[in-house]
């Protein structure tokens, strides 16, 4: 059952080949068998999943079911789930039981999905490897000594290991796309403002966006469609109708103009990754796409710009964690200042504290112009580069990450080494564009991802292009050995 696509699950449920309860039970059995080794889930919610499955079976019997009714789901532990621990991979929120549901959670509950549990992540979404989680790293199902990528590593690994068919995730600098690439699955981050951030714990408010992780573009399309839409409770939510992503999948891509930035293919890119990307582009050409070279002149400045903007916004967002109203409070504080300092210093891990420090510095008097204001100006230039490119191409493509999954502990000595993982992905968040990663083969036995960037609100086109590629290739159907 764990190999079935969402479409096959929909068919099977309606034909009564199996019930939602049986489907959920099979997922929970896989979680039981594999989570100890992989550490994908921080919290498992079997009672909730089965309760929702029973309700889904009733809806299915009454003919009152939608496309996702009865389908199991995993939530990245950054989405507030009422009555269930929402930890953000941090000691700071280890004791936090969310008193409300995120908008995304509400929508997917209403669609009839069944919550299996909360997935592991880099602490407060800050990282590219899921190693900074208070709950320990998640292991890449393709090689247990390697990282799954991050920050949505738990979701990506869970999908790759077939613990469930669909998972929510978030992306601020690449945190959906890079783990999708490292785990050989499909992940999509939509346009900024497409998915409500209400109840999605904030890291960097002008960059954060929720999205979908699945084994195929087709599966992801169902999830993203259900997650998307205007929400009054998110003041950055965009008032615009949601395209019917599943209906757009089968459109012909003959004539699709794909631009490949020359800045991406420099000496920092692993040659095996570069080869798989070029082979994938050749497949697109076989489907009728037209490939051309483009330039994104400010692309090399995406990471420095991002690592000013994101820490700055994080230092502001994380100032709410003070031990007063919720979350971790240090024991026996001597005074209020001691309570603030020790609660935060004991509650947060090293990378979070580093980014808060950087952010505080770049926003402080005397440095604001040189760093934060400068970064905001470069942000505009980076965004303009994309807009100029989209005058001539429909989609921009390249590698998602400069290498394949690295070993646990390999990049934790020097923070900047880890930051360089984000070279291709951060520009997208700065510009607010939609982008996806799809598996396009292997290098040294590890998955390689192709990065597809679209213009604003072109999620349907991205999923369509990815789906057409997945019709003539089967990288997305590969399964890690030893996980069965």
């Amino acid at each position: 059952m764990y190999e079935k696509s969402v479409t096959e699950l929909q068919r099977g449920l309606r034909a009564r080949e199996f019930s939602s309860v049986e489907l959920v039970e099979s997922c929970l059995a896989r979680v039981e068998a594999l989570n100890g080794r992989l550490n994908c889930l921080i919290t498992v919610t079997p009672e909730r999943a089965l309760e929702q499955a029973r309700a889904a079976d009733k809806r299915l019997a009454a003919g009152d079911a939608g496309p996702l009714t009865g389908i199991p789901l995993l939530h990245k532990d950054i989405f507030c789930t009422r009555g269930v621990r929402t930890s953000c991979g941090s000691r700071m929120l280890d004791n936090f039981i969310a008193p409300y549901d995120a908008s995304v959670v509400e929508r997917l509950d209403a669609a009839g999905m069944c919550q299996l549990g909360k997935t592991n992540m880099d602490e407060f979404a800050m990282g590219s490897s899921t190693e900074s989680s208070y709950y320990g790293p998640t292991r890449n199902p393709w090689d247990l000594e390697r990282v799954p990528g991050g920050s949505s590593g738990g979701s990506a690994a869970a999908i790759a290991a077939r613990l469930g068919p669909l998972a929510t995730c978030t992306d601020t600098g690449g945190s959906i796309r890079q783990p999708a690439a490292m785990c050989g699955v499909t992940g999509i981050k939509p346009t900024y403002g497409r998915v409500s951030r209400y109840g999605m714990v904030a890291f960097a408010s002008s960059l954060d966006q929720g999205g979908a992780m699945a084994r195929s573009a087709e599966d992801a399309a169902f999830l993203l469609a259900a997650m998307s839409g205007f929400d009054e409770r998110d003041s950055t939510s965009i008032e615009r109708g949601v395209d019917d992503y599943p209906a757009m999948l089968s459109q012909d891509i003959a004539g699709l103009r794909i631009g490949v930035p020359k800045e991406y293919f420099d000496q920092g890119l692993d040659s095996g990754v570069a080869d798989r990307v070029r082979e994938a582009l050749a497949e697109f050409e076989r489907r009728g796409a037209v490939i051309s070279d483009i330039s994104l002149p400010h692309a090399p400045l995406s990471i420095p710009t991002y690592y000013v903007v994101a820490p700055a916004e994080c230092s502001s967002n994380l100032s709410r964690y003070d031990g007063v109203r919720f979350g971790y409070r240090a024991e026996n504080p001597s005074d209020l200042l001691d309570m603030y300092k020790r609660s935060r210093s004991e509650g947060f891990g090293a990378e979070v504290k580093r980014r808060i420090m950087v952010g505080t510095y770049v926003l402080s008097a005397g440095y604001y112009d040189a760093y934060y204001l400068k970064a905001q100006k470069l942000r505009r230039r980076i965004s303009e580069d994309f807009q100029k490119a989209f005058e001539h191409v429909d989609v921009i493509a390249g590698p998602t990450a400069p290498g394949v999954a690295f070993k646990i502990g390999e990049k934790t000595d020097d923070p900047v080494t880890m930051y360089l993982c984000d070279v291709y992905t951060t520009g997208v968040n700065l510009a607010g564009l939609p982008a996806a990663s799809i598996p396009v083969g292997f290098s040294d036995g590890l998955p390689v991802g192709l990065h597809l960037i679209g213009d604003y609100f072109q999620e349907g086109r991205l999923l369509n292009a990815a789906h057409q590629y997945q019709q003539i290739t089967d990288w997305h159907r590969q399964m890690p050995r030893g996980i069965d």
Binding site: T191, D322, Y361, L378, S383, G432
Partner: protein, 95 residues
């Protein structure tokens, strides 16, 4: 851009973080490296560029000034470290 221990202490205080003596040297070095790395931004002249705060250049959406929130204080305080009579308790502030 060099950064010294005093600066680190100042920033840590602003951020309400404690950097212990053992961690001070490493923190100073790490921050100096990160700041040197982001200093690459200086390579490009951006004198006449308008800063971009929102990726789609949208402004803050406004709404009518009507009360829409309900009182859920009990639910929110259920997970609080220390409460009394609807108030959050903290170490004494005033002597």
């Amino acid at each position: 851009m060099s950064i010294d221990a005093d600066e680190i202490a100042r920033i840590a205080h602003l951020a309400r973080l404690e950097i212990g003596d053992e961690a001070l040297a490493r923190t100073t070095e790490e921050l100096a490296n990160i700041l040197a790395f982001v200093g690459r931004m200086d390579a490009v002249d951006t004198a006449d560029v308008t800063p971009m705060a929102h990726p789609l250049d949208q402004n803050q959406r406004l709404r009518e000034d009507h009360i829409t929130e309900t009182d859920r204080r009990d639910a929110f305080q259920a997970g609080a470290p220390a409460v009394e009579n609807g108030l959050y308790l903290v170490p004494k502030v005033l002597d």
